[in-house]
Structures are given as C-alpha cells and as structure tokens.
Symmetry: C2
Subunit: 505 residues, 2 copies
C-alpha cells in the first residue's frame, strides 16, 4: 500500500471569539437560569426552545443575494436555502408566533434561554457566542403586560441573589419622547449651521439626533446635553462636536423630559404632564401609560424602592414603541483601573409592535425583556453570591492496586449517602501524585487504606481543607491539637467523612 | 421619496430537519438532564461546555479543500478559516483534552450536555439538531474506569425513573473479539466463492465482514449468522446474501463468542475463556478485563440483574478498542404497527485510545458513554413517568378593565405563595374567550371578581379540572352535589385556591 503523506497535526484551539466553560462556570450559570425559570414559570410564562438555526429569510435583515451573506451572522447555504445561527431570541420568537399563531394561546407568554451567535470581530470580553435569557408577552396590548414584566424582573433579581436596594428597575415610555418631538416639531423651525432649515431635513434625522444626544445624558449631564442639542460642545480633549441646532425652547422641552424624574413617581408624572400636556396627544397617552404602570405596580407592592418611573432611561428608545424598562444594579464595584463605579445595567426591554407583521402583515403587540446572562453572573460574583468553585469530590486513594474493588465499594458507599466521591484512577504507584490530584480537584477529604489498615478494618481520613489551612498559618501547637488525619472504622466511613465535611461549612 | 418595491413576505417555517420545543418538552428534558447531572456529579465528573463551533481542522474528518466542505456537518468560512457546528461531543473533548492538558486534572472526568448538529437529509424522526449527554474519563488506563461508567449508567437510569428490572447494562470487550479473529486467522485459510484465498484479501476486510455479520445476530439468530459467516443465506424474500466464506471451525469460534452469555457472569467468562484460552494473548487479556469489571461491580452491589457480561453486544465493536457497554431498556412498548417490542438501547459507549493523539501525538486512554436524550425521554413517556404536560397557571379573569390593579394584586398574592398565576391580558370584553384561554393553558382554577363581588370583598373560584370532568361524564346529581364554582372571601383567596388544586393531585 502506498504510504500516505503525513498530515500536519491540527491545532488544539478554541475558535477565535468563542469560549469553553468548565466546572462551576457551567453549574453556576445553570443554577441561575433555573432560578430565573422558576420565577418566569410562576408568572405563567411557558418555555420555548427553537433550534439554533433559522432560514436567513425568516431572520430578516440579511439578504441571501451574495455568496456569503453573513453580515453579522454565521450563515451557510443548504440545498439552495441560506440558513444562519440565530443572533438573538426575538427573531425566532417572531417566526414561531407567526407560524403557530392558531395553536398558541393568545396572549402568549414565553421565556427562552440559550446561546446566540454574532459574527463580529472578537475583542476583549466580546464573544461570538453568548447566552440570552428572554421573556416576552405576545398579543397583549395593555400596559398591564409591561408592568407585569417589570415586576417579574424585580422578583427575578431577588431570586438569583441581588437583594432589594441593590437594584432598581427604571421605566420610561417612547410615546412621551414622541410627544416631545411633536412639540418641538410644531414650534418654530430652527436653522442649522449650514443654513438648511429643519423642514429640509428628514424628520427621522432630527429624531435620531435627539435620541443620540439624549443617550449621552448620563455621560455629559444637563449642560452637556443642552450644548449638544444646540450649537455644539467642546469636549475635554478640546475637540468640537457639532450640535443638533435646536432653538433654546426646543432644548428646554427635551431637557425637561430627560430631567423629569422626581422624588416620587407621582411628582415625576406631574413633571412629564407639564412637558406634554395640551400640546401632544401621543405624549399625554405616554404619560397616562406610565401612570398606569406605576399604579399597577404599587397595588402589588412594587414601590419606587424597586421600580421607578425615570425619563432619563433612553437606551432602546429608538427601537421600542411604548414603555421601555431597564434593570440596573446600584451597588459599587471596582473597575479594572481600581476606581469605584456602579455596576450598571443587567437587563432591558420594552414594547414593540412589528414582531409578527413581517410574516403575516398583521400587527401584533408584544413586550419583553432580555437579561444579560454573563453580566448578571458577573454581578453575583461581585456580590460574593457565587464563587466560581464547586465542592470537589472525596478522593479514595489507591494503596494496593489489587484491592480496587474495596476502594470502589468505599466510593460507592459515600455516593449512596449523597457525598461526591471517586476512586483515584490514574497510575497509583506514586502516592504524592494522588494527593496532588486531590489538591487539584479541591477535594475536602482523602480516604486511605493500606493492607495494614485493611487487616484491622479501618481507614485513614485526611482532612485536606484543614490540612491546607494548617500548612498556611498554624503554630506547632495547633498542628498537634488539630490532627488533620484520623483513623476510623471502615464501617463508620460515611459518618466520619460527613462530619469532617460539615466542620468546614 | 421613491417607493421601494414591495418585498414578498418571508415564510414562517421551522427550517427543514429542525424542531421547536414547547412547554413541557423543554422542562421535562431539562429536568431529566438535571437528574443525570446530579448522578454524574456524585461520581466526581465535572461539567464542560464547549462552544457550538469548532474549526474544521480540529473536528477532523472534514477537509476544507472544497468550496463547501460540509459532508455531514454545517460548515462556514470565517476570515479564511473553515468552522463547523460540532457533530458530536467527543471531538470537542479531544480538542479540550489536548489544549488544556497541563491545566486539567489527570484523570479528567467530564460530562457535557447539549445540542449537536448533523448535516444529513432530514427524515421522519431524524433531526439535524439533537441533544447528546456524554460522560468520559480521559487518562485512566484501568478497566476500573469502564466499570465505574457502567455503574454510573445504571444509577443514572434509576435516577431518571427507569426502575431496576426494566433496564440492563450489557458489557462486552473488543479484545475478546480480536482474540477470536486472531484464532480464525491462525487456522486454515478458507477459499472464497470467487476462488480467491483469504490471504489475498486484506485482513481488515474479513474483520469488517465478521463485525457486520455479528451485528445481524439479533436479527437472524445463530443459524442465520452461521450461514452468513459461511456460504451465504437466502432471506425471507428469496434473495441470496453472499457469505463471508469462513470454514466451519472458524464459524464455530465466532458463534461460541457471540453465544457465550450464560446464566451467571462467572459462567459467561468461563465460556469465553474456552474460546480464546491458550490461543490468543489479546483474547485472554480481554476476558480478564471482563472478569475484573464484573468483580469490581459485584463488590459495589451491581449484580447481573443490572449489569451483565454479554458478548452478543457488538454495536460499536468496530469503533472501540477495549470494553464496550450498552444500556438497554427491557420493557415492552407497542410500535407504530401495534406490535409489542422491547424498547431497546438508550445509551452506549466504550474505550477508545486515539482521543488526543491527533493533536499531540501522545496516546491517551479514554472511556465514555453517550446517552440518547430523546430516546430516554421517549422511554420515560412510554413508562408514564413524564406526561408532556405541565401545571397550567391559575387565571385571574378580568371583569372590569379599570380594576386591573386589583386583579394583578390577586395574581401577585398567589405567586408569593408559590402558585403559578397570571391575569388575563387579552381583550377582556368577551368573558367566554377568557375561559377558552384558561382551557388552552390547562389552567386548574379561574378567579372571577365582578364589581358586585368586589363590593362584598369576595371572589368566585371556578374549579376548571372538576368542571371539565363533570362536563364529560357527570350525572345531574353530581353536578349539583359538587359545585365547580364557589364564592370565598378575597382575604382567603390563596388558601382556597391551594385547597382546590390539592384536591386534584
């Protein structure tokens, strides 16, 4: 037989921009998602799991008219059909809501948890596969559906371990901003730096410019926003940023909206009323909706310590059509540079109306929230609620290769009592390697039985946690008074191991 | 502005060969996987979750030298690198074991659960995305690792709800078959129908032919196998299938191997010893390994009622290099044609040695099992352990649109008591629609409060399960004596709803 040319060895590498999750990284996420699912379930939401793959046609946005249409998605052709990995959970929901509209209950409350894929340049902390956890209500036009999701979001944060006071759900409404935009549009036409009047510029552009500027409110403050909405602003570096060119009273309207948040929801709503009242129908409708949301939540005991009307929430205002909401963690963490800063947003959502329309032509109202799974996990880690480690197994060491059955029986007894346990299955010749292995596994206890112990019906138990502690900082007296190794009867193995483990809890 | 040409609406369709999972389909799988993970964890296995994507280079088998190299996988090019969705869990484990060989403990016990993707023609019951649930031990050469996985497999089946007696883990060893092949090779050269002698045919071909034939043992029985290993066989349709052309004593050796299973593991092992003893070193080693496995398991209480040495297990013998094991469910189900048949295999695995070698050149022993998640779920359904339904939420109906806050507060109270509950969020005008919705949600109880009830501080509770039952088969007396609707104080809402739900458990 002709010898084949030797192939070079493949590289063992995680693909660029992807991650591998080990041990606690998997179980802690699973446990958090399980807690979230429990809350969602209690609110009547039903799970949905679509496949990772959708047709590019159903995903929308991406046209299969080029060889590789994966602008933002991972796409491939199959039998003449372009398919792609889902880039979010909303597009598959839209497809399902249209496809199964006759079978699904209406309203349809669904939650879903799983990975999504983005074909973006990988960067530090930016991955091309990550988890999303969404809950949406499809087919409920009333703001009671939005209020419900806000309450559920608050419950969810507490359920996973963010205590009350460490988070706030902030609620705004796109319709109020629409009212503000209507009001400024109805007022005198401003003229722009290049001499063009507003009328000459598409409404949408001004809208976008106002939204973009509002989005900088957190960063540049009231004065900065005023400048950016007006003539422009010179930033810290000395660079000049062109302004939107609004007139002062137009700027006032936008700023009154952004700064309407007051000490109580009632006062905030009164402030908003002042901005739009009598001037914009849609704006007043938006304020009424916020008032309803606040009342519905108050009736269920969700006061402004948990959910607050806050018109400075502008993230997503460009995308959503009605109420928007955002969950923010308010405790401080230390950033990479050692400076304290607020943890910030971990979830956001709002109302959108064109969910199913692309498929059926019918408008179906929908509202929903997406939790940033990795950010929320990072928050729990920052709060010390999860630790990135799990209980290692008890290691039954192997002193005598021929007595493997005895060692397996010990591990089996421990497991039957619910204790995580395993027999060392590497080469047992070097006992030091067995203890090194136990160390790497973060094992709490090592079980040792040589032929002498076997003959006497006993085992040695080595308390590895105490051992590590003593090795670190014990005095000679402590070493003597707290023996990290004890001999117990084989018959009492389970009971003694359990006691040893409980000592460290 | 020029009006854009109207795009045709996209089709709302699950991509061909993929599935959407709703409600209980999601939660029942999750719950089963959670139970499995608990057992795996107790055995010291650690979770691993790799990304869905691997480089085609790391996956192996698939060469990126054509435009679309996805023979069997879904592949796409990214920045000059071909990547693909994983088609199983073993290839990613191989990559991880090589990449992190210095960080991971050795032996490394890992489990993993998640979807895999196969680019195959979709067919009935054959999907292009499905779940796998694997556990493997990497770097443990001893058969104690194989025995451990067999015990874990038995524990797992019981943990998810397959009672002892309804399953059997069957164990075989490739090495014994190798011994048999060695023996027949050492004997006289048979001549084939076309006049060629065995020596003229590559060994591998005979090996494959014997494996393929052995694989038909379940179907054609001893006599059928004898014919197929010899001259050939005429099947039920009258068609003649060419035989392998072995001589009678060679056939005897293979058949003695396949039929070696006896009333006890000891006798089975004695039978196997007779087949290979003194004639094949590797065959004897294989028998010794089976004996060790049986002894290790017996010492932990896993007798032949749970795990049995059975040389008729041939599935996978072509792939694995040492022990192979298979979990079979032994209870009967009714197939599509109404005939009773055994449920069959739900998990399989074995020992393989070339896991990491592709990457590092070093041989690393590994053994592992893969559970067919969908088949095991189907088995639990067949056994009535899961039902494909979940508890629907209590529905708080809306009689008075302005009192939404009161209704939300009721749902909130119920949830706080751990009861799944929701307010009807569709258009409340038609009360019949609300009850139809409750029906679709399989709601146990509807809560009703009109303005009259509100004034009196009471609510009506409608027992929907009892109502459905009465509607089906109640007499007039029963209708009267078991009122499906009762009035209770608003203050006692939770307590009465709970009692109503408990009545049906």
């Amino acid at each position: 037989m002709a010898k084949q040319k030797k192939q070079p060895r493949p590289k063992a590498e995680t693909p660029k921009g992807f991650r591998d999750y080990f041990g606690a990284e998997v179980t802690e996420r699973q446990e958090m998602l399980r807690q979230i699912a429990e809350v969602y379930d209690r609110y009547g939401f039903d799970p949905l799991e679509t496949s990772a793959v959708e047709t590019v046609e159903a995903l929308g946005k991406f046209l299969p008219d080029v060889d590789r249409p994966n602008a933002g998605v991972f796409a491939f052709e199959d039998d003449g059909t372009w398919m792609a990995l889902r880039y979010d959970m909303t597009a598959p929901l839209a497809r399902v809501a249209a496809q199964f509209r006759n079978e699904l209950p209406s309203p349809y409350r669904r939650y879903t948890m799983g990975p999504v894929w983005r074909n973006e340049k990988p960067g530090p902390g930016r991955f091309r596969q990550f988890y999303q956890c969404d809950a949406d209500t499809v087919g409920a036009p009333s703001v009671a559906a939005d209020a419900e999701i806000c309450a559920m979001l608050a419950d969810t944060l507490e359920a996973v371990g963010i205590p009350r006071g460490d988070y706030i759900v902030r609620v705004n409404n796109r319709k109020v901003l629409n009212g503000v935009l209507e009001i400024i549009g109805d007022l005198e036409q401003p003229s722009f730096a290049d001499g063009a009047t507003w009328a000459e510029i598409h409404d949408r552009d001004v809208e976008d410019a106002v939204l973009r500027t509002a989005d900088k409110f957190d960063k540049v403050g009231v004065e900065g926003v005023r400048q950016l909405l007006g003539e422009g602003r010179r930033d810290a570096s000395g660079a000049f940023i062109e302004g939107v060119g609004l007139a002062p009273y137009q700027i006032d309207a936008v700023v009154s909206f952004l700064t309407a948040r007051d000490s109580t929801n009632e006062r905030t709503i009164a402030n908003l009323n002042e901005v739009v009242s009598g001037s914009s129908e849609v704006g007043m409708e938006g304020v009424r909706e916020l008032e309803q949301i606040a009342n519905l939540l108050a009736a269920q005991g969700y006061g402004p310590d948990r959910i607050v009307i806050d018109p400075s929430v502008v993230r997503g205002l460009g995308y959503y059509t009605g109420p928007v909401y955002e969950a923010e963690l308010t405790f401080e963490i230390t950033d990479e540079k050692g400076r304290p800063r607020q943890f910030g947003s971990v979830a956001g959502g709002g109302r959108y109306d064109d969910l199913v329309k692309r498929f059926t032509g019918q408008e179906v109202p929908a509202t929903g929230v997406s939790i940033g799974v990795d950010r929320l996990l990072a928050a729990l880690r920052a709060k010390g609620r999860i630790h990135g480690t799990r209980q290692g197994p008890v290691i039954v060491t192997v002193m005598d290769r021929d007595r493997m059955a005895d060692y397996q029986a010990m591990a089996s007894d421990l497991r039957a009592a619910g204790i995580r346990a395993e027999v060392y299955l590497g080469n047992p010749k070097n006992f030091g390697n067995q203890l090194k292995y136990a160390d790497k596994r973060e094992s709490p206890v090592a079980v040792i039985q040589g032929s002498d112990e076997a003959a006497r019906g006993v085992v040695q138990l080595k308390d590895l946690i105490l051992g590590a502690k003593l090795a670190q900082d014990a005095t000679l007296e402590e070493w003597k008074s707290q023996p990290a190794q004890t001999e117990v009867s084989r018959a009492d193995l389970v009971q003694h191991v359990r006691a040893m483990m409980e000592r460290h809890q």
